[in-house]
């Protein structure tokens, strides 16, 4: 069976040759099967978001290979990789165009990977489709399709961005701490929607989170990162039976230091 994602010994150093030199990814290798939902945890500067950005192509990596469903995307620019990837960012402002209305944002996402021609930016049939999809969120947004996204709350925006990321089925969904900027109740709702979308469309997904409970409670696989390396990789039944204290102990055992993340929620 082909792998949904293969990272082969990926390296990235920021500010090379300066006093601020920082080894962000130090030989990251991982393979994801189709349908895998991997949660990613780790301390400050462990390389969690950096790994997602490397896959998304925000900047080129120094060494290594990135293969999505047998397509080597290592040297593709960011906008070409978008064909394979759905992305939701930490900052709710990042995932949408706030001066454009909901249906326009969805229409942009619906054309991900396609050529942008002089055809209509949005058609009647698409409006019907978007309306139907929005109603599955249960937020009443299907009645507000011509509302500017800038007028939505952070949680609503993340929900819309999630839907946009899945409108055209991506080979891989990248969730970069997408609930971190939300209040606990909204964060829980957005996580629920994430689960719902991932299950419904049978997506392969990677989710960076600062909440250890969420990391254990969601997905079928969990990885822990430290200093640009994957230091722990657990799946299936073993993952289900994990507790937060197991993770902390594991971290200390492997890294030899205490778990350090100002924002990590330990309970």
């Amino acid at each position: 069976m082909s792998k949904a994602l293969v990272l082969k010994d990926v390296h990235k150093v920021f500010n090379k040759g300066t006093v601020n030199e920082k080894v962000a990814l130090d030989g990251v290798s991982i393979e994801l099967d189709p349908g895998d939902f991997v949660t990613i945890i780790g301390g400050n500067g462990a390389g969690k978001s950096t790994m997602l950005n490397a896959i998304a192509g925000v900047w080129p990596v120094d060494a290594g290979q990135i293969i999505v469903n047998e397509n080597d995307i290592t040297s593709l620019p960011e906008h070409k990789r978008a064909l394979y990837l759905g992305r939701v960012f930490q900052d709710p402002m990042m995932g949408t165009a706030v001066t454009m209305v909901i249906e326009e944002n969805m229409a942009l996402a619906y054309r991900r990977g396609g050529k942008r021609t002089l055809r209509r930016g949005i058609t009647h049939e698409e409006r019907e489709l978007f309306k139907e999809k929005l109603s599955t969120l249960g937020l009443g947004l299907e009645e507000r399709m011509t509302t500017k996204v800038g007028l939505l709350s952070g949680g609503q925006r993340q929900a819309v961005t999630l839907l946009m990321a899945s409108l055209k089925k991506p080979e891989l969904l990248l969730l970069d701490e997408h609930t971190a900027a939300l209040d606990p109740k909204t964060a829980a709702k957005v996580l629920e929607i994430s689960d719902q979308i991932i299950n419904e469309y049978h997506l392969t997904a990677m989710m960076v989170t600062h909440n250890m409970k969420d990391a254990i409670g969601h997905g079928n696989r969990l990885i822990m990162m430290n200093e640009g390396k994957i230091i722990y990789d657990v799946r299936g039944e073993e993952k289900k039976s994990l507790h937060v204290k197991d993770l902390l102990a594991k971290f200390e055992e492997v890294s030899g230091t205490e778990f350090d993340n100002d924002r990590m929620m330990l309970s």
């Binding site: 960011e78 906008h79 978008a82 990042m94 995932g95 942008r116 002089l118 930016g121």
Partner: protein, 317 residues
Amino acid sequence: MLQYFSSLDPITLLKSFPGSIAQGMVWGVMALGVYITFRLLDFADLTVDGSIAFGAATCVMLIRSGVHPVFATFFAFFAGLIAGIVTGLLTTLLGIPGILSSILTQISLYSINLHVMGQSNRPVSVDNYPLVVSLRYVTGSAATSLIFFAGMLIFLVMLICALYWFFGTETGSAIRATGCNAQMARAQGINTGYIKVLTLGISNGLVGLSGALYAQFGGAADINMGRGAIVIGLAAVIIGEVIFGKFVSKRRAAFAWTMGAVVFGSVIYYMVYQLVLWLKFPSEDMKLLTAVVVAFFLAIPYLREKKSSAKGVKSGE
């Protein structure tokens, strides 16, 4: 004081208004170009000062060499388009900051325009050529004046309709998304570099076209005719937004109305310009006055936000 007021002749002012309205309509085309880069792409494009003269020079030299003014005006669009594309390539391919890229193009166009014209000023008289527009049509008989204004109005309405259609297409939506959030645009597979080049091209194409019309209107292309054009363009955009903002936001097809408001802004700018000159404001200070007005209106949204956030802190105590 009395002497000052008695020296002002309202008839002179009224008589000069048709000319300033006409000029405002001609520059309205440029204002639309500025609106596209400044508001939709969020790019402060100073290429404008050079590309307006480039369009004018291209058009006038073509007319003088026997090309029909209609085609010459059309070619001026492509002259501007090329200028915009150069700015776009400087910033996307070579990574030069946007505003600096546009200044580089603007400066190089000064030399290029001198080459195109062979000297710093080239007249093109309505007596010798069937020009598309001319001040003489406005000041001439009632019939030529009516034809000028009707023609210009139809052209502007058609142009706005075309732009409205374009920005509703997949490509047009991609431009708006890139201007609003380039990161999001890339995540949706939009090649934001290409979009920047394309938009700068279209915008400066309109500016070149405006330069061609302006040269014919005034009867000459001049190497300095673009100086400060970007500021006038911004003034038109801002005046249009400030005066018609409320009116526009409640309409269907608000975007088309906004573009109409920008053209109106340009017309109002030239009417006020005429009024201020009529009040005997020294003409050499007009650019200073324009800059101050533009700075004032650009600062308003920022100052308003600062004030409301200060209030928010107070009420939060």
